[in-house]
Symmetry: D2
Subunit: 109 residues, 4 copies
């Protein structure tokens, strides 16, 4: 993870883009890239979408990840740590015994 983060940060530093990369606009950017990913599935089933432009699907997932890693980096967050912490919290919100096989939100379990 550290080496990929280094490449991502080098990319924006070479372009002097840090000045634009405040956390609010990075969060906007994550939303925009997530929408571009989702556009591949508009009016389609998953299967129809994946038999379409897989190259674009890949690129948009990468964009979501790139901006998320930038934001985490700017806020001095360790990606592995926050993921593990969130999984722990989710384990409490969604105990296996009550959530197994259910698509309900924890507030409805």
């Amino acid at each position: 993870m550290e080496d990929i983060l280094k490449k991502i940060n080098a990319f924006r530093e070479e372009r002097d883009w840090r000045q634009f990369h405040n956390p609010k606009d990075l969060s906007i950017s994550i939303s925009l890239e997530a929408a571009e990913l989702l556009e591949n599935f508009q009016w389609k089933t998953s299967e129809e979408a994946l038999s379409g432009d897989m190259e674009n699907v890949k690129e948009e997932i990468a964009d979501v990840l790139i901006y998320s890693l930038m934001l985490a980096s700017d806020l001095d967050l360790d990606v592995r740590e926050i993921i593990e912490e969130k999984l722990r919290k989710n384990s409490v919100k969604y105990p296996v015994s009550r959530s197994k096989g259910s698509n309900k939100k924890y507030t409805d379990l």
Copy 2:
């Protein structure tokens, strides 16, 4: 990365959630978590937001990452690979000479 992905996949397998995790709904989920992250910045500057609920900011970045890693995993995509490939493509779209210090989209450069 591999070990964190293993934990993420173990989490959903224990709950028998793979049945809901088709790529379309995972893409929807990435969008929803991106919006929950962005909500922290609504009506606020970045500074105001970050002096607010940093715990929630952390959790929402983690959620975006978790769903993105799930989707990449389900599509058999190597996260490092797609990020590096996207950075290469962006280097072509945004050559340093023309994009340095600019917030313009590549179509306007």
Copy 3:
């Protein structure tokens, strides 16, 4: 339309909220409400979602409309006019002869 817009504007003026309602944050708000609407459909078919919390579906559509009408009002746009103009443009992008029965984007027609 004019009378409903008056009610919407009265609502925010009574609360002295115009100071927060810059176009960027209104656009963010439209995105957030759209995501809250979409959350009703996460992991579900349309049918499953609509047999769920229809009260929330209604409220979120209303919220998307309220923020969109606020933004249009702040930019001095006539809602009817911009919708009719957009329909005209879409007629050119999607001529009936080529788009009938197709879920393709105009760039792929």
Copy 4:
């Protein structure tokens, strides 16, 4: 409102698009158009954005409204009614006395 809704519905009926317009995909579409609107504000202040492509801003607001009106129509919702009902609910969540001049969420008031 009724006449503009008639035009919108005529547009999709001529193209035989009702078959794609299930509520889930319409909700996805509202999110996508909201993101395209928001893209105008990425890395920019409101002022910078509005001195940019106002034509696109207009079109994206129109798109959000068009899909929202389609969805309301398909669910047999009266747009004026759901907006007025939501304003009434918001009045309770945000009483003038407590929310005046505040950008806090009702849960934090």
